[in-house]
Every structure is written in structure tokens, then in C-alpha cells.
Symmetry: C2
């Protein structure tokens, strides 16, 4: 199997565990669980949970232990997309070819479904920590809480919202990419190795690699927005220009951005190589993520 196939296979596994992690649609109040499920099962790539599981397995950890945390990180990612799409934010009507949550269920339910996924992510993780009360599980949960919170993803989203339509400098741009996108990929990798039994030093290296992978991944995404087509990408292209979004491409152009992707990913690969042969799949995955065409 090639990297893409393995990624798809692992994504299907995550799908199965996510189904079990969320209450049934019929549970009262059913409108809530229907809205949570609608967005959570809208066809995401499951990149963050896959990275978490791969990092855990790389270091010799048990997958079973990592599953609640993998599910939680995908719930947090999904909540962030629901709130990003709201009329007061990006005001998007479609995501992955489906109506966005507020278009489907109304704005009140979309806000609540987003809140609910964030709540349920933490309930899922704390439940796992009650069952297996160890320093490793607590630290993994903390890595995810920190990566998602006011020093991570959330602050990136705030600066992105505040910057829209304004010219920004390189430092601010890096802040947005590092926090809005990279922080959760970092958290996935760090939590994964912690659950697998990593030392503090190993977790630190993984965190650094995650930052590089995350920023490279986001720049690659910005490039695809101008070089790809609707058919290949599966979503409208040139949306950054239309939304007056600041990206590496609007700042430096495609060619220079491509070089940055290569530089960041090369740094990530160097860091991953310190884990030896076991890191081969994560290295391959990194290369795949930043050279992908969609």
C-alpha cells in the first residue's frame, strides 16, 4: 500500500471509533446529536487523529489507549470548522460539498453543535483519563488542550479574523499559520508520542517537527488555492483572493512559497529521523501531505 492508501485505511478506522464516541442520533435531545454527527461525518480526511495514532504506534504504544484522544482531536477540529463557517465569521454556505451547519440547522444550533463537540472532546478525554489515570494520559490531554486553546489554534483564528482585509507582516502571517493550523497537528503528534510512552525530550522534538509540518501543510494549501482547479481540489479555488485572505502566496508568490514548503518539510524530516527507522511512515506521510494535489 502506498501512503495515500494507508492514510485512507486509517481514516476509515477513525470513522468507526468516532461513530462509537458520539451518542446515537436518537439520544435526547436528538436535534443536538444530529447536528453534531452531520458535521463530524461530513467526509473529513481525519488527518489529525491519523497523525496521533501513527505517532503513538511509532514509539511502540498501544493504539487502544490513543483512540479516545484521536477522536477528541477530530471533534475539536470539526467544532472549529463549524464556528469558522458561521455568518459572523467566514459566512460559508458549503463545506466539502455539503451545506454548512448553520445553513442546515440554523445559526443557533450551529453555535451549540460546535460548542457541544468541544465539550464532548474533553468529556471523552477526561473519561479516558479516569479509566487510565497516568501521567502520560494527563500530559497527552494537556498537549491537546494547549494546542487548541488561547495559546494555540484559537489565537490563530482570532488573529486571522482580525487581519482579514488588512495588510499584515510576515511575523503575523507566521503566527496565524503556526497557531490556526500547525498547533493542532503539533498537538496530535505530541499527544500521540506521549501516549506511546515518550520521554519529555522526545515529545519536545515531536512538537517541533509538528510545527514545521503544520506550517508547510498550510502553505501547500495556500498554493493549491491558486494552482489547482475546482474539479481536482473538490472546493472552490481562488477563495483566498476573493476573501482578501493574507497567505504566503499573496505575500511571496507561488515559487517562493513552494521553496518555503520544501525548507519547512526538510526541517521536519530531519527531526523525525532522530526516531530512527520507526519514523519512516511519518516521514513518508509528511512528504505526501505537502506534495499532494488536493
Amino acid at each position: 500500500m502506498n501512503c495515500k492508501q494507508i492514510l485512507q485505511q486509517k481514516a476509515m478506522e477513525i470513522e468507526f471509533y468516532l461513530q462509537k464516541a458520539l451518542p446515537e442520533k436518537q439520544t435526547y435531545p436528538s436535534a443536538l446529536f444530529e447536528a453534531m454527527r452531520y458535521s463530524l461525518f461530513a467526509g473529513g480526511k481525519r488527518l489529525r487523529p491519523v497523525l496521533l495514532l501513527c505517532a503513538c504506534e511509532m514509539i511502540g504504544g498501544e493504539k487502544e489507549k490513543a483512540i479516545p484522544f484521536a477522536c477528541a482531536i477530530e471533534m475539536i477540529h470539526t467544532y472549529s470548522l463549524i464556528h469558522d463557517d458561521l455568518p459572523a465569521m467566514d459566512n460559508d454556505d458549503y463545506r466539502r460539498g455539503k451545506l454548512t451547519s448553520h445553513k442546515k440547522f440554523g445559526e443557533d444550533m450551529a453555535i451549540l453543535a460546535g460548542d457541544a463537540l468541544l465539550h464532548h472532546a474533553f468529556e471523552t478525554m477526561t473519561q479516558a483519563c479516569v479509566k487510565d489515570c497516568s501521567v502520560a494520559t494527563i500530559k497527552a490531554m494537556h498537549a491537546i488542550a494547549h494546542g487548541a486553546g488561547v495559546y494555540g489554534m484559537l489565537s490563530g483564528q482570532v488573529v486571522d479574523v482580525l487581519s482579514q482585509g488588512n495588510a499584515i507582516d510576515e511575523k503575523t502571517m507566521y503566527f496565524i499559520h503556526k497557531n490556526k493550523t500547525a498547533a493542532m497537528l503539533q498537538a496530535a503528534l505530541k499527544a500521540g508520542v506521549l501516549l506511546g510512552g515518550a520521554t519529555e525530550q522526545q515529545a519536545k522534538i515531536m512538537e517541533e517537527a509538528g510545527e514545521k509540518i503544520g506550517v508547510a501543510f498550510q502553505i501547500a494549501d495556500d498554493i493549491l488555492d491558486v494552482t489547482s482547479t475546482l474539479e481536482v481540489l473538490g472546493k472552490p479555488v481562488h477563495s483566498d483572493e476573493k476573501n482578501e485572505k493574507n497567505t504566503y502566496v499573496t505575500m511571496y508568490g507561488v515559487e517562493a512559497s513552494q521553496k518555503m514548503v520544501e525548507a519547512f518539510s526538510q526541517e521536519a524530516v530531519c527531526l523525525l529521523k532522530t526516531f530512527g527507522k520507526e519514523a519512516d511512515f511519518l516521514i513518508e506521510l509528511t512528504r505526501y501531505l505537502i506534495t499532494r494535489k488536493y
Copy 2:
């Protein structure tokens, strides 16, 4: 000191710890931390954190251990108010005499400030659990996650939103009060005794007492909405009628509702008495909360 004075004194203590628990206004991105602080320091009664600390002290626990959890529960309460006030929800312009978050900072920042407080509550608790990794701290965090989440406060809010303007039955009304209001008071009391070293059995009793106190507290609130005045209550009265809210008062009238408050609080007091003399202050507090005039 009487009960009200002790409550005020403890609230001031919480104020001090909350100031330290949140990043400074100047921290980047400052717009985020300003919005978080604006709502968190808008003059709340700090009832939930006070209950948590009192429950912890009642059972002989150390206050210091409970502080991060007390702060977190107030952050969660504040986030829920910010999102409740949004145009897509209750569309309120004022809370406690101040502009609501979306009126002051715009709808996008209000959504994000609410999200941020929820994130930061969990970051604060996981940080405390990393420092003191014990079954008690994890269980306390789980009690709060559960009370706030899709089986607690959040589900109450969903049913409340879905019920507005429609006639509902007694069961649904109890569900709303039990979840939207009581679940977080329950969580505060349960987490407090767990942090103080309670047994499972003691935590269970506290959870039951919390449900009774919470429902009684909410019915008392509904009664004040029709019997009090703007001057005494500090907020507009008759707002439930105006917003077509279903309450015990609209369903049973003031007199019958008052009897229910007495019955629920009596049950709570019986449960609290199983903790002996140490529970005297919590019993007094319970009586104060449901006989208050504002």
C-alpha cells in the same frame, strides 16, 4: 458574618484567583484577552466556584488544590452566558447592566471569546492535573466536563432554545432546569468534595443534593422574575413572559412554585445533613440562595 457576607467575601477571593488564571490584557492577541476579561469580570456572584470551594473545605480538603477548578467552572459559566446572549440565541443587549459581549466587541469576537473561555477552563484544569496527577483531580475534572457537556448544561440549553415559544410538558421543563442550571451547581459540589478526598458514595450524595439545590435555585429565579422589581433585582423583570420562556411560574403559578422550591431545598438539606456539622454552612447557603430577594 452572615451567609450573604461570607458569600461576598469568598466571591472576592475568587476574583483574585481569576485575575491570575487569565492571561494579561496585553498578551497577544490582546483583543481576545480583553474580550475574555470583559465578560469574566462583569460582576458575577461567583456562586459556582464558591460552592466548589465550600464543598472542598467541608470535607476537609485544601483550598489551594481546588482553586484552578473553581476558576475553570466560572470560565465555563461565563462562556455559556456569552453564547446565550448572541443574536442567534437570546439576542440580549445588556447583562448585569453592561453591554453584552457581541454588542461591545462584535459577534465574531463574542463567539471566539466564549470559545476561548471554554478552552481556557480545560487548559487550566489539565494544567492542575499535570501538577497533581491523582485520581481525585481527574475525577473532579471529569465531573465538571460531564456537568457542562452534552449530558449536562449544553443539552439543557439546546432544549431551552428548541422549546422557546412552544408549550412544553412538566418533564421537559424539569429537563431544562436540571441540565441548564442544576448540572453546573451539581458539578461544582461534586468536584469540590472529590478534590477534598470524598468517597464515591459521598460524591454521589453531593451530586444528588446539587440537583435539588440547582432546580430550587432556578425556580426561585423564575419566581423573582415575576415578583421582584428592576431596582431590587438589578435586571429587567417579566423577561420570561416577554421572551415566551416556559418556567415553573408560567406553568404552575407563583404559590405552587414556591412550595416546590421549599420541597426541593428540604430534600437537599436532608442530603447535606449526612455530612454532619461540617455541612452547616452549605445548608445555610442553600437556604439563603432560595429565599434571596435578588
